[in-house]
Symmetry: D3
Subunit: 136 residues, 6 copies
């Protein structure tokens, strides 16, 4: 018997889509206005899904206070009100929301163990979202 608990967090950050693997012109073609040199920003809504059996004593999959502490320590403090491109994890990776989803998944999967992180879903705007469930 398995149930899933999802909790949403928000963070505001700036970034610029740009890669040294492409020429200046190809960067503009590929990333459009997201390649503007001075960067822009988003309110990211990050949904963290944890799965597992429901503890018969507490009726919970995971204690929400525990989850909040891990997510704040590992993700929110690191990226909130920051420029993503300046984080060492994005030195050699374009700061797309696809890559942010993978990065957040990898950071949380180890920090939450032995609880099972099932999925990260990030809304970049209310009409664009990204999901990643690990590389199993």
């Amino acid at each position: 018997m398995k149930a899933y608990f999802t909790r949403a967090y928000t963070l505001s950050a700036s970034h610029r889509l740009h890669t040294e693997a492409l020429s200046a012109e190809d960067n503009r073609t590929t990333f459009g206005k997201c390649n503007n040199p001075h960067g822009h920003g988003h309110n990211y809504r990050i949904e963290v899904t944890v799965g597992g059996p429901v503890d018969p004593a507490t009726g919970m999959v995971i204690n929400m206070a525990t989850l909040d502490q891990v997510v704040n320590d590992v993700v929110i403090r690191r990226f909130d009100h920051m420029n993503l491109n300046l984080d060492p994890l994005f030195t050699h990776r374009v700061s797309t929301t696809e890559n942010l989803s993978i990065t957040v998944f990898d950071l949380l999967a180890s920090a939450l163990a032995p609880a099972i992180l099932e999925k990260i879903r990030i809304e970049e705007t209310e009409n664009n979202f990204f999901e990643y469930s690990g590389s199993h």
Copy 2:
């Protein structure tokens, strides 16, 4: 060929997170302010997902009027504007939203048969939600 239809219902209820399996102090530590003795409340948004082939004559997975009647009879009338802790199903189960999801799934799965209930998703607040798809 399988398609999925999901319909959302809302109910307002009060509850208190408390279990006789724990001491008074452990109840406070585990459940925090949700253990306040006089209870509190939520507007729960319950999404019911039914799956199956699309009927070639009607173009439907399930008739919405049928679904509404079953959900109202079995779930809404039972829990809306009630105190969850006073329902016999929660006498020996903590009234967490995990357990509410499982309870609603089990009540609806049998009431909707032979239609296939795929999933119950309950939003406790707009930032916390819970999913259960049965114990297969």
Copy 3:
């Protein structure tokens, strides 16, 4: 020159609509299922609007951190995860969202002075909301 800043807060509480001014039957007729004896609950979304000139140095109507502290001290701690009917302010007032709006306005207007509280708007559900701007 006047601008308005609004910030939304949420609280979960239980209540029961019932007044000693009416008979048991009139209570049921007037309040319907909201008169159920064991109470029910809501997630209230409370929007607090402050108005005033924009400070030329800071570019702000009011510092958000200041507002958060006042609202948490005066409103959230008092009502969140509580039974509204047990608060002394509702001993002789029905705990409708109209009266909750007036109560929250009066508590905050004095606590925020000299900043000007313009309006309280409370969403009881996403389809019902209430507004109060004081008794001027």
Copy 4:
């Protein structure tokens, strides 16, 4: 390693639920007010989910500009501000949202190839939605 990108589009259309496979009375019983002879309308929100590996150079599953162009050419221009029942694809299929989901999936799956269309999700109203992932 697979990630998913979902982008939402909206279109407004009118339709009427009616099938020649049923008598006039059975049409009314089955479809209720959706069978009203002069039609009615909806704002449909269509979520298109594409899955695949993240390109190491661009950090993307699919370029959003490419996706927009295909969806606009194949779906939005065809159905936006139209009467669904007059489209040849609905001559012999009831214009339910189940059938609209299947229709949109089939149109986009071939137009987007070799990119992988994972799912179409259509919100008919904020409380009713439909999903289809193909007939594999």
Copy 5:
């Protein structure tokens, strides 16, 4: 002392923007794709705001059950799942959401008297809305 209660209702309808006061070409220029001959549709969200003193006995501005009955009788039954252009009130008025707002205001203001209808707000889509408060 005045408070405001707002309740939201939804209705789905089809319409076409077209006026005999303009040539066919001017109709197309003015109304764009909303002038498509076969019509299109929307889910309209209609917010009805009633203002007045809070009744000391009931704690209410207006009884929600009373409001629901009037709005259903006068507005929802008339326009839900209908073609607006076929209603006599739109024979000589373009069925824009501006005119729908005025029409709904005028229908409800008299039906709700002596309660005071303060405002009608109609969302045509989540990004377009219209407000009307009467011709005082």
Copy 6:
């Protein structure tokens, strides 16, 4: 007789709250993490409200296509995917959302004349919004 039409636009931008009128330490105290030196970002939702009589021929307060063109020319192209602090209008004004609201109001009020701009409302996040109606 006056009606109001509101249309929402979104733009993504980065900014940093910082003023030369304050010391480095006072900047940190006043603006908190919004003073982080590398900036951060938001998805701003900008609601533009235009008021006026409803044109008897077209049934409109203002043509939506006209409004879209002005807002795109004057506001969206200028600020979308940009760093607000680098715009000349923010050289001597802190880029708070209060000041962005006033800036957008002033830019649009003249560009939309003789149509009447009634209000600008900017959502910085879904829980914080700002309104400005001019300096009358």
